[in-house]
Protein backbone atom coordinates (compact mmCIF):
# COMPACT_ATOMS: atom_id res chain seq x y z
CA UNK A 1 0.00 0.00 0.00
CA UNK A 2 1.30 3.46 -0.95
CA UNK A 3 1.01 6.90 0.64
CA UNK A 4 -1.92 8.86 -0.80
CA UNK A 5 0.12 12.07 -0.75
CA UNK A 6 3.44 11.04 -2.36
CA UNK A 7 3.24 7.40 -3.49
CA UNK A 8 5.98 6.18 -1.10
CA UNK A 9 5.37 2.96 0.78
CA UNK A 10 2.74 3.52 3.48
CA UNK A 11 3.35 2.91 7.18
CA UNK A 12 -0.21 3.61 8.30
CA UNK A 13 -3.74 3.35 6.99
CA UNK A 14 -6.09 5.63 8.89
CA UNK A 15 -9.08 3.33 8.51
CA UNK A 16 -11.64 5.83 9.77
CA UNK A 17 -10.82 8.17 6.86
CA UNK A 18 -9.37 5.70 4.34
CA UNK A 19 -6.13 7.68 4.05
CA UNK A 20 -2.71 5.99 3.77
CA UNK A 21 0.46 7.73 4.96
CA UNK A 22 4.20 7.26 4.49
CA UNK A 23 6.36 8.01 7.55
CA UNK A 24 6.91 11.66 6.62
CA UNK A 25 3.27 12.42 5.81
CA UNK A 26 2.13 10.58 8.94
CA UNK A 27 4.43 12.82 11.01
CA UNK A 28 2.96 15.88 9.27
CA UNK A 29 -0.61 14.68 9.88
CA UNK A 30 0.07 13.81 13.54
CA UNK A 31 1.73 17.11 14.47
CA UNK A 32 -1.00 18.98 12.58
CA UNK A 33 -3.66 17.13 14.58
CA UNK A 34 -2.01 18.17 17.85
CA UNK A 35 -1.91 21.81 16.66
CA UNK A 36 -5.61 21.63 15.70
CA UNK A 37 -6.56 20.10 19.07
CA UNK A 38 -4.63 22.81 20.91
CA UNK A 39 -6.41 25.45 18.82
CA UNK A 40 -9.92 23.89 18.96
CA UNK A 41 -9.83 23.31 22.72
CA UNK A 42 -7.94 26.58 23.40
CA UNK A 43 -5.29 24.70 25.40
CA UNK A 44 -2.36 27.10 25.20
CA UNK A 45 -1.77 30.83 25.44
CA UNK A 46 1.39 32.66 24.47
CA UNK A 47 4.11 32.93 27.10
CA UNK A 48 2.73 30.28 29.47
CA UNK A 49 4.76 28.12 31.83
CA UNK A 50 3.47 24.58 31.17
CA UNK A 51 4.13 21.50 33.27
CA UNK A 52 4.30 18.25 31.33
CA UNK A 53 3.52 15.11 33.34
CA UNK A 54 5.94 12.54 32.00
CA UNK A 55 6.10 8.87 32.96
CA UNK A 56 8.55 7.70 30.31
CA UNK A 57 5.80 5.82 28.47
CA UNK A 58 5.02 6.39 24.79
CA UNK A 59 2.15 8.80 25.42
CA UNK A 60 3.91 11.24 27.72
CA UNK A 61 7.20 11.09 25.78
CA UNK A 62 5.31 11.89 22.58
CA UNK A 63 3.47 14.69 24.39
CA UNK A 64 6.72 16.30 25.56
CA UNK A 65 8.28 15.95 22.12
CA UNK A 66 5.36 17.55 20.23
CA UNK A 67 4.88 20.31 22.82
CA UNK A 68 8.56 21.12 22.42
CA UNK A 69 7.81 21.69 18.73
CA UNK A 70 5.09 24.18 19.69
CA UNK A 71 7.34 25.93 22.22
CA UNK A 72 8.54 28.60 19.84
CA UNK A 73 5.15 29.37 18.30
CA UNK A 74 3.55 29.90 21.72
CA UNK A 75 6.69 31.15 23.48
CA UNK A 76 6.22 28.41 26.11
CA UNK A 77 8.37 27.39 29.02
CA UNK A 78 8.09 23.60 29.45
CA UNK A 79 8.76 21.88 32.76
CA UNK A 80 8.65 18.07 32.58
CA UNK A 81 7.49 16.51 35.87
CA UNK A 82 7.96 12.80 36.52
CA UNK A 83 6.16 10.99 39.32
CA UNK A 84 8.00 7.97 40.70
CA UNK A 85 5.19 5.98 42.34
CA UNK A 86 7.59 3.23 43.35
CA UNK A 87 6.46 0.36 41.12
CA UNK A 88 9.28 -2.17 41.19
CA UNK A 89 10.48 -3.45 37.81
CA UNK A 90 8.32 -0.98 35.90
CA UNK A 91 8.86 2.66 36.73
CA UNK A 92 12.68 2.79 37.08
CA UNK A 93 13.37 2.18 33.38
CA UNK A 94 10.53 4.46 32.30
CA UNK A 95 11.88 7.35 34.42
CA UNK A 96 15.27 6.87 32.78
CA UNK A 97 13.59 7.16 29.36
CA UNK A 98 11.84 10.35 30.51
CA UNK A 99 15.09 11.84 31.81
CA UNK A 100 16.93 10.93 28.63
CA UNK A 101 14.29 12.55 26.39
CA UNK A 102 14.19 15.70 28.55
CA UNK A 103 17.99 15.95 28.33
CA UNK A 104 17.88 15.52 24.54
CA UNK A 105 15.40 18.39 24.35
CA UNK A 106 17.51 20.56 26.66
CA UNK A 107 14.85 20.56 29.40
CA UNK A 108 15.35 20.15 33.12
CA UNK A 109 13.11 17.49 34.63
CA UNK A 110 11.52 17.56 38.11
CA UNK A 111 11.16 14.13 39.73
CA UNK A 112 8.77 13.75 42.66
CA UNK A 113 8.15 10.46 44.43
CA UNK A 114 5.52 8.77 46.61
CA UNK A 115 8.24 7.50 48.92
CA UNK A 116 9.70 10.97 49.58
CA UNK A 117 6.36 12.74 49.80
CA UNK A 118 4.19 10.15 51.54
CA UNK A 119 6.76 7.82 53.14
CA UNK A 120 5.61 4.76 51.18
CA UNK A 121 5.98 3.49 47.63
CA UNK A 122 2.91 2.34 45.67
CA UNK A 123 4.11 -1.24 46.06
CA UNK A 124 3.93 -0.76 49.86
CA UNK A 125 0.65 1.18 49.79
CA UNK A 126 -1.06 -1.36 47.53
CA UNK A 127 -0.71 -4.09 50.16
CA UNK A 128 -3.59 -2.40 51.99
CA UNK A 129 -5.85 -1.32 49.15
CA UNK A 130 -6.64 -0.91 45.49
CA UNK A 131 -3.44 0.26 43.83
CA UNK A 132 -5.09 2.12 40.94
CA UNK A 133 -7.38 4.18 43.17
CA UNK A 134 -4.54 5.03 45.61
CA UNK A 135 -2.19 5.85 42.74
CA UNK A 136 -4.72 8.13 41.04
CA UNK A 137 -5.47 10.10 44.21
CA UNK A 138 -1.82 10.48 45.26
CA UNK A 139 -0.53 11.26 41.76
CA UNK A 140 -3.12 14.03 41.41
CA UNK A 141 -2.03 15.44 44.78
CA UNK A 142 1.69 15.35 43.92
CA UNK A 143 1.23 16.82 40.46
CA UNK A 144 -1.06 19.55 41.73
CA UNK A 145 1.42 20.40 44.51
CA UNK A 146 4.34 20.46 42.08
CA UNK A 147 2.40 22.52 39.55
CA UNK A 148 1.53 25.16 42.14
CA UNK A 149 5.02 25.24 43.66
CA UNK A 150 6.53 25.69 40.20
CA UNK A 151 4.04 28.45 39.34
CA UNK A 152 2.65 26.62 36.32
CA UNK A 153 -0.26 27.97 34.32
CA UNK A 154 -1.34 24.48 33.23
CA UNK A 155 -0.36 20.86 33.48
CA UNK A 156 -0.31 18.82 30.27
CA UNK A 157 -0.93 15.07 30.42
CA UNK A 158 -0.42 12.41 27.76
CA UNK A 159 -4.01 11.11 27.72
CA UNK A 160 -4.91 9.98 24.21
CA UNK A 161 -8.26 9.35 22.50
CA UNK A 162 -8.38 5.77 23.80
CA UNK A 163 -7.88 6.94 27.40
CA UNK A 164 -10.66 9.51 26.99
CA UNK A 165 -13.08 7.02 25.45
CA UNK A 166 -12.31 4.36 28.07
CA UNK A 167 -12.96 6.89 30.86
CA UNK A 168 -16.27 7.95 29.28
CA UNK A 169 -17.40 4.34 28.81
CA UNK A 170 -16.30 3.29 32.32
CA UNK A 171 -18.35 6.08 33.85
CA UNK A 172 -21.36 5.29 31.64
CA UNK A 173 -21.45 1.61 32.42
CA UNK A 174 -20.92 2.21 36.14
CA UNK A 175 -23.68 4.80 36.07
CA UNK A 176 -21.27 7.28 37.66
CA UNK A 177 -22.75 10.41 36.08
CA UNK A 178 -21.15 12.73 38.67
CA UNK A 179 -17.71 11.58 37.58
CA UNK A 180 -18.77 11.75 33.93
CA UNK A 181 -19.84 15.37 34.47
CA UNK A 182 -16.45 16.22 36.00
CA UNK A 183 -14.61 14.55 33.13
CA UNK A 184 -12.93 16.73 30.56
CA UNK A 185 -10.91 19.06 32.74
CA UNK A 186 -13.71 21.53 33.28
CA UNK A 187 -12.98 21.84 37.00
CA UNK A 188 -10.80 24.91 37.22
CA UNK A 189 -9.83 27.38 39.87
CA UNK A 190 -10.11 26.85 43.62
CA UNK A 191 -6.49 25.71 43.76
CA UNK A 192 -6.66 23.14 40.96
CA UNK A 193 -4.09 23.73 38.25
CA UNK A 194 -5.82 23.32 34.88
CA UNK A 195 -5.09 20.03 33.12
CA UNK A 196 -4.76 19.96 29.33
CA UNK A 197 -4.68 16.91 27.04
CA UNK A 198 -3.16 17.87 23.67
CA UNK A 199 -3.17 14.20 22.49
CA UNK A 200 -6.83 13.74 23.44
CA UNK A 201 -7.98 13.37 19.82
CA UNK A 202 -5.27 10.96 18.68
CA UNK A 203 -5.88 7.19 18.87
CA UNK A 204 -3.36 5.31 21.02
CA UNK A 205 -2.17 3.33 18.02
CA UNK A 206 -1.22 6.59 16.26
CA UNK A 207 0.66 7.81 19.34
CA UNK A 208 2.53 4.49 19.49
CA UNK A 209 3.39 4.76 15.80
CA UNK A 210 4.65 8.35 16.11
CA UNK A 211 6.75 7.44 19.14
CA UNK A 212 8.20 4.43 17.27
CA UNK A 213 8.94 6.32 14.05
CA UNK A 214 10.59 9.14 16.01
CA UNK A 215 12.58 6.61 18.08
CA UNK A 216 11.78 8.46 21.30
CA UNK A 217 13.07 5.56 23.42
CA UNK A 218 9.79 5.44 25.32
CA UNK A 219 8.58 2.49 27.33
CA UNK A 220 5.75 0.32 25.90
CA UNK A 221 5.39 -1.70 29.08
CA UNK A 222 2.02 -2.09 30.72
CA UNK A 223 1.60 -0.97 34.33
CA UNK A 224 1.40 -4.13 36.48
CA UNK A 225 -1.49 -2.54 38.41
CA UNK A 226 -3.59 -1.84 35.31
CA UNK A 227 -7.15 -2.79 36.33
CA UNK A 228 -9.10 -5.59 34.77
CA UNK A 229 -12.21 -3.38 34.46
CA UNK A 230 -10.41 -0.80 32.34
CA UNK A 231 -8.84 -3.64 30.31
CA UNK A 232 -12.30 -5.08 29.64
CA UNK A 233 -13.60 -1.72 28.45
CA UNK A 234 -10.45 -1.22 26.35
CA UNK A 235 -10.96 -4.60 24.65
CA UNK A 236 -14.64 -3.91 23.97
CA UNK A 237 -13.88 -0.49 22.47
CA UNK A 238 -11.03 -1.86 20.33
CA UNK A 239 -13.26 -4.67 19.03
CA UNK A 240 -15.90 -2.07 18.14
CA UNK A 241 -13.25 0.09 16.43
CA UNK A 242 -11.91 -2.86 14.40
CA UNK A 243 -15.38 -3.58 13.04
CA UNK A 244 -16.57 0.06 12.84
CA UNK A 245 -13.57 2.35 12.15
CA UNK A 246 -14.12 5.78 13.71
CA UNK A 247 -16.30 4.64 16.59
CA UNK A 248 -13.85 6.00 19.20
CA UNK A 249 -14.40 9.48 17.75
CA UNK A 250 -18.17 8.90 17.73
CA UNK A 251 -18.07 8.07 21.45
CA UNK A 252 -16.04 11.21 22.20
CA UNK A 253 -18.23 13.47 20.04
CA UNK A 254 -21.35 11.96 21.58
CA UNK A 255 -20.00 12.78 25.03
CA UNK A 256 -19.15 16.34 23.97
CA UNK A 257 -22.78 16.78 22.83
CA UNK A 258 -24.30 15.62 26.12
CA UNK A 259 -21.67 17.25 28.39
CA UNK A 260 -23.44 20.65 28.55
CA UNK A 261 -26.54 18.87 29.92
CA UNK A 262 -24.64 17.23 32.76
CA UNK A 263 -24.02 20.40 34.76
CA UNK A 264 -26.64 19.40 37.33
CA UNK A 265 -24.33 16.55 38.33
CA UNK A 266 -21.15 18.61 38.55
CA UNK A 267 -19.14 19.02 41.73
CA UNK A 268 -20.56 21.74 43.98
CA UNK A 269 -18.49 24.58 45.34
CA UNK A 270 -14.86 23.66 45.78
CA UNK A 271 -13.94 23.86 49.45
CA UNK A 272 -10.62 23.63 51.19
CA UNK A 273 -9.65 20.38 52.87
CA UNK A 274 -9.84 20.89 56.66
CA UNK A 275 -6.52 19.05 57.07
CA UNK A 276 -4.23 20.24 54.30
CA UNK A 277 -6.01 23.21 52.75
CA UNK A 278 -5.95 21.62 49.31
CA UNK A 279 -9.00 22.09 47.08
CA UNK A 280 -11.63 19.43 47.66
CA UNK A 281 -15.34 18.79 47.18
CA UNK A 282 -15.45 17.19 50.64
CA UNK A 283 -14.57 18.27 54.17
CA UNK A 284 -11.45 16.06 54.07
CA UNK A 285 -9.88 15.52 50.66
CA UNK A 286 -9.37 12.03 49.20
CA UNK A 287 -5.60 12.26 49.54
CA UNK A 288 -5.77 13.12 53.28
CA UNK A 289 -8.34 10.37 53.88
CA UNK A 290 -6.07 7.89 52.14
CA UNK A 291 -2.94 9.07 53.97
CA UNK A 292 -4.79 8.73 57.29
CA UNK A 293 -5.77 5.15 56.37
CA UNK A 294 -2.13 4.44 55.50
CA UNK A 295 -0.98 5.76 58.89
CA UNK A 296 -3.51 3.63 60.76
CA UNK A 297 -2.76 0.40 58.86
Amino acid sequence: MDCDSCGDRAVYLRRYSGQAYCAEHFREYFEGKVRKTVHRRKLLKRGERIGVAISGGKDSCTLLYVLDKLKKKYDLELIPIAVDEGIGGYREEAIKAAESLATDLGLSIEVVSFKKSFGQSLDEISKNGDACTCCGVLRRRLLNDAARELGLAKLATGHNLDDEVQAIMMNYVRGDIERLARFGGRVNGGGFVRRIKPLGELPEKEVALYSTLKELGASFDECPYSTSFRSSIRDIVNDLERDNPGIKFSILRGYEKIAPYLTAYEMGDIKKCAKCGEPSSKEICNACSLLEEMRQS
Binding site: M1, V11, L13, A20, P203, F220, E222, R242
Partner: protein, 67 residues
Protein backbone atom coordinates in the same frame (compact mmCIF):
# COMPACT_ATOMS: atom_id res chain seq x y z
CA UNK B 1 4.41 -20.55 2.03
CA UNK B 2 6.03 -19.96 5.38
CA UNK B 3 6.73 -16.63 7.14
CA UNK B 4 8.78 -15.97 10.26
CA UNK B 5 6.72 -14.58 13.09
CA UNK B 6 7.64 -12.82 16.31
CA UNK B 7 5.12 -11.42 18.80
CA UNK B 8 6.15 -8.74 21.33
CA UNK B 9 9.82 -9.62 21.12
CA UNK B 10 9.13 -13.27 21.97
CA UNK B 11 10.62 -16.34 20.32
CA UNK B 12 10.61 -16.54 16.56
CA UNK B 13 8.20 -19.10 15.15
CA UNK B 14 7.06 -20.13 11.70
CA UNK B 15 3.59 -19.72 10.25
CA UNK B 16 2.15 -21.20 7.10
CA UNK B 17 0.21 -18.66 5.07
CA UNK B 18 -2.03 -18.86 2.04
CA UNK B 19 -1.32 -17.31 -1.36
CA UNK B 20 -1.86 -13.53 -1.21
CA UNK B 21 -2.67 -13.50 2.49
CA UNK B 22 -2.41 -10.07 4.13
CA UNK B 23 -1.02 -9.10 7.53
CA UNK B 24 -4.60 -8.22 8.60
CA UNK B 25 -5.78 -11.74 7.74
CA UNK B 26 -2.90 -13.28 9.69
CA UNK B 27 -3.73 -11.09 12.70
CA UNK B 28 -7.37 -12.20 12.50
CA UNK B 29 -6.27 -15.82 12.36
CA UNK B 30 -4.08 -15.30 15.43
CA UNK B 31 -6.91 -13.58 17.29
CA UNK B 32 -4.99 -10.30 17.52
CA UNK B 33 -6.97 -7.08 17.09
CA UNK B 34 -5.22 -4.93 14.45
CA UNK B 35 -6.19 -1.79 16.39
CA UNK B 36 -3.85 -2.83 19.20
CA UNK B 37 -0.59 -3.52 17.35
CA UNK B 38 2.05 -2.15 15.02
CA UNK B 39 3.63 -4.51 12.51
CA UNK B 40 7.15 -4.57 11.13
CA UNK B 41 7.46 -6.41 7.82
CA UNK B 42 11.10 -7.30 7.11
CA UNK B 43 12.16 -4.65 9.61
CA UNK B 44 9.97 -1.79 8.35
CA UNK B 45 6.68 -0.55 9.81
CA UNK B 46 3.94 -1.36 7.30
CA UNK B 47 0.15 -1.24 7.07
CA UNK B 48 -1.86 -4.38 7.78
CA UNK B 49 -3.00 -4.35 4.14
CA UNK B 50 0.41 -5.61 2.90
CA UNK B 51 0.37 -9.04 1.25
CA UNK B 52 2.90 -11.53 2.53
CA UNK B 53 5.45 -13.60 0.63
CA UNK B 54 7.27 -16.75 1.68
CA UNK B 55 10.29 -16.00 3.90
CA UNK B 56 8.92 -12.63 5.10
CA UNK B 57 9.68 -11.65 8.68
CA UNK B 58 6.57 -10.41 10.49
CA UNK B 59 7.11 -8.77 13.87
CA UNK B 60 3.97 -7.90 15.79
CA UNK B 61 4.44 -5.22 18.45
CA UNK B 62 1.86 -4.39 21.11
CA UNK B 63 0.93 -0.71 20.70
CA UNK B 64 -1.79 -0.47 23.32
CA UNK B 65 -0.76 -0.39 26.95
CA UNK B 66 -2.57 0.31 30.16
CA UNK B 67 -1.77 2.36 33.22
Amino acid sequence: MIVKLKINGGRESQLTIGEGETIAQVLDRLGINRETVLVRLNGEIRTEEERLDGGDEVWIIRAITGG
